[in-house]
Subunit: 273 residues, 2 copies
Amino acid sequence: MSRELLFDSIVKKKSFLCVGLDTDLDKIPGHLLEFDDPIFEFNKAIINATSDLVVAYKPNTAFYEAYGPKGMESLKKTIDYIPSDIMCIADAKRADIGNTSRRYAESYFNYYKADAITVAPYMGDDSIKPFLGYDNKWVIILGLTSNPGSHDFQQLKFESGEALYERVLTTCAQYGTSDNIMFVVGATKAEYMKKIRTLLPEHFFLVPGVGAQGGDLLSVCSNAINDKVGLLINSSRSIIYASKEEDFADQARAKSLELQLQMANVLQKYDLL
Amino acid sequence: MSRELLFDSIVKKKSFLCVGLDTDLDKIPGHLLEFDDPIFEFNKAIINATSDLVVAYKPNTAFYEAYGPKGMESLKKTIDYIPSDIMCIADAKRADIGNTSRRYAESYFNYYKADAITVAPYMGDDSIKPFLGYDNKWVIILGLTSNPGSHDFQQLKFESGEALYERVLTTCAQYGTSDNIMFVVGATKAEYMKKIRTLLPEHFFLVPGVGAQGGDLLSVCSNAINDKVGLLINSSRSIIYASKEEDFADQARAKSLELQLQMANVLQKYDLL
């Protein structure tokens, strides 16, 4: 999916919501366990209930890998089911030496046919560039994450005064362009958002942590929205597990709608519609 | 596998060789493609030909994921086939926020039943600790890698004068103990080996890059061997692709034997047998 199509989709749906499909057999409603593939049934119902309100879905590969090859079948069916005008982000946090990253890229772009994959930056350029050789596919690089462990390394400062996460953002931005690279920027660090937007005025940021991780949508937008929106706001657990009962899909829609309406207001306020 | 059992196995086999199973349908001998599961057939032949010479196998998950769920079946069969007294390292380079890393740990330790998994450190403690709650399982954390991109971030220096990779090694060592944590230390950086061994006198290092990536076994050992050996030397392509013909397993054995004999000499030289 190109940057233009993504922007068009945001304007059309008045939404920059990404729903995370962290689908867990221990958390989905019990009646689904009778199906042959409960994970896919759950995802299908969530997608059916929310597809007019979102511009991206983000299956988290760990939740599929946990069930072995059968889980990967569920992932494949899920990605196939996502409408083609909605971005599919494989949240995989991969990266390895070049010949290995090439295989991960083949897996997620050619086999599973995701539009984007999240990657970890520690191994540098040759670990990320193999993901960049695909037309209209995206690499989403970890910049600043919202988990407690982000303090261990990401926020440490180099001799230059620059923090590691800042160096990661500016160095990795040069591996490609704002047409094929996005960055993960944690929403619970809204005070850093403004600084990061200054460093990278054009890139899209995938912002997790709104919802279960406690980030605040309006604060993120006021610090980091740009003239092509430049934000995908992800919410996983607070949407897909809004209810554990048979009404789970309706409740997921209600939670998505709540966020989408806030997003429509934001887009109007910033004159982006 | 406990540290004691690993050391016993090294002494018994006079080897600290790990063979990387980066099995690629484009590189294995053509006659294997007639089998229903050529990847597993290839791995089985390699394991049969080398199991008395090695203390660990390291399937690289990317090479299995590239083929979708069927590839993951090959991975499962391969891990099941590895004799239980040989360490199985899932070379997966995973790590994510805590609840997600927990699912990766479940996948690789409970479902696939690997003894160890490689992980990336960028997201810090809560991304790695979920892998540490398993008896006799190992987490192998990226320290200093041997690829060109390792210069982008790993070797940058903080205000304290410490390089990022050094901080990663000393901080991550505190997440667990030398009984459940190892580090990836690239062999092409032999000049750094001594320094790293000083920082971490007791930990095992998984050393890739001997063979195809150009590292030198004797130089690594002279700088980093300790009184419990403390080294697993990995070789992948130079062993498993020693021949593309029907004699591939014999040639893999020959290459493994060559390294094992060098290792036996090293162990004798350092009085470790």
